[in-house]
Symmetry: C2
């Protein structure tokens, strides 16, 4: 026969309410009582299931992760962080992919209403969609944005993309590079604007100027990086000595273009990316890039939702990045 909460309460000599408080990590239970209840629950092999716990406490113990078209490494990293936080508090992570177009559909509304979660993590670019934010507010589902366009619309976790891009370009300039190309990302993503601004600021700071042919619009795909690099590198008499691609996939495209044109990396061309995806270590030479704290951001987003501090503390938490220097960059003119 299945152990019930009554059995635990009896054996531990406390009320059912106390057992419930302990198992739901609620405050106002003496440490000794908490320990005794946990011990008895373990002995009796008692663990209330989600539905029962949910009804008892008006929580569902579920957090949803909403994402649109995230790269596999980004998605698995953010999941890993969120799940770590969930497990510590007996929560579970539910996955809800959703395209930007879908967020205005009845289907999305139905999914959101049905999912019965205690909160939602919204990754970029979903977190910038007003329709989705409004739906969640209407349904009274707290949410935390990951990498939003504007940092002042409620709880958010982010990193300083602009500063990271600035530091990467400064690193190239310190290596002696003067003619530096930049490949921008998908215009729909907030990160695109921030990374571009960092590039511009670092160039200006060093008194350098990138001509219009040195800044090419990409869309974060390998192919767009390849095409952009081909254009920048096709004229052997006028090539940049370094190219900074706004993500690793596009930087992989730059390496591929250099390969096809027989341009030696890093001797004749330094290449760097952004994100430190697994690809960065698999390319040859390995890619200089920016490591994003995606795992930590996922973890913090879940923690905010679980602690229910969201409404009291609608702050933006900014995380540190790291420049990862590998073999694809070198001193200019070596």
């Amino acid at each position: 026969m299945r152990t019930t909460i009554t059995d635990v309460a009896k054996q531990a000599g406390v009320s059912m309410k106390t057992v419930s408080r302990v198992l739901n990590n609620e405050p106002n239970v003496a440490k000794a009582t908490r320990e005794r209840v946990m011990e008895v629950a373990d002995q009796l092999d008692y663990s209330p299931n989600l539905a029962a716990r949910g009804l008892a406490s008006s929580r569902s113990y579920l957090i949803a992760l909403l994402y649109d078209n995230a790269s596999p490494s980004y998605l698995t990293n953010i999941q890993r962080g969120a799940i770590e936080a969930c497990r510590q508090q007996g929560y579970h992570l539910l996955l809800e992919p959703m395209t930007a177009a879908q967020t205005e559909s009845e289907e999305a509304e139905r999914i959101l209403r049905r999912m019965n979660v205690d909160g939602a993590i919204l990754t970029a670019p979903l977190c910038d969609l007003t329709a989705l934010r409004n739906s969640l507010t209407r349904l009274d589902i707290p949410y935390v944005a990951v990498g939003p366009q504007d940092a002042d619309e409620g709880a958010a976790v982010r990193m300083d993309d602009q500063d990271a891009a600035f530091q990467m370009v400064k690193y190239l300039i310190d290596l002696g590079h003067r003619d530096i190309g930049f490949i921008a990302g998908d215009p729909d993503h907030a990160s695109t604007r921030h990374r571009r601004a960092g590039f511009d600021a670092a160039m200006q700071d060093a008194g350098l100027h990138a001509g219009t042919d040195r800044v090419v619009q990409g869309d974060y795909t390998f192919r767009s990086g390849l095409e952009a690099a081909k254009r920048m590198l096709e004229d052997p008499t006028s090539r940049p000595t370094a190219i900074f691609a706004a993500n690793d996939d596009m930087a992989a495209g730059v390496l591929s273009a250099a390969n096809r044109l027989n341009i030696a990396v890093p001797d004749a061309l330094s290449v760097c990316g952004f994100d430190d995806t697994p690809i960065a270590r698999i390319l040859w030479p390995q890619l200089t890039t920016v490591a994003q704290p995606i795992h930590q951001m996922g973890r913090k987003a879940a923690e905010i939702l679980i602690s229910r501090d969201k409404r009291r503390d609608p702050a933006t938490h900014t995380f540190d990045y790291e420049l990862i220097i590998r073999g694809s960059t070198a001193r200019a003119g070596t």
Copy 2:
């Protein structure tokens, strides 16, 4: 005020029981009645939340995906397939990573007991762990294995790794290759044994023999592929003309080794992988590989659990693979 099931029943002129049946996709409701109830539910903007639906029907409408250390592209593919199936039936997907070591711990037992799902998808190598299978059986949680070691232990989805490896090696032999190297994967994975068996069978079938120095043990990582390829390629007087790595990450290592040793791919060395991960298209040259039906397997696994046919139909569903021929392989001696 929130619409309740009573409002829907009243407006549709049916019993609450009928509304519940319709919303839970249960059988034995006339088509016209089903349509009327759905229409009214839509009009009244009614959608029961998970906890309420779960209690009403003894289902939780949750499926768990259990995985250990899966590669990002594998994981996101299987998630995508499972979520497609879940959405069609109003289900949601819950993520539960778990290491092999963890499956025998109390922590794992607690997570499994607590998650309250209608079924679990077990990816390899978790699906081969007796302790985990026993825990799930004891907790009365139906499960479907993805790519199990043995195909006769209950419901499973898989592809024929051995046949795929056989066809890949046959393709190399048809290109004129006679001296073919093989890099095997992680011994803990069932796929390793099957892919090796396919290699052996194809060689034997063609009357060829791979010496012991032509088969090297890897562990599915880029680094192990790099090291294995270095060993096979270090002696310029005795090099294979083709190397088949048992996954794409190791094949990327082979390309990197060839690059460092100035061996032209595919002119002097054909290289192929397995899995068709995004990396395969980002390498230069692009990788010849095997596309696995991971997305379809995830979808089918969720469908089996949702339809609750598992106990009636403990069959293994085998999916087709596809050889993807790209630039990393060519005729021998060209």
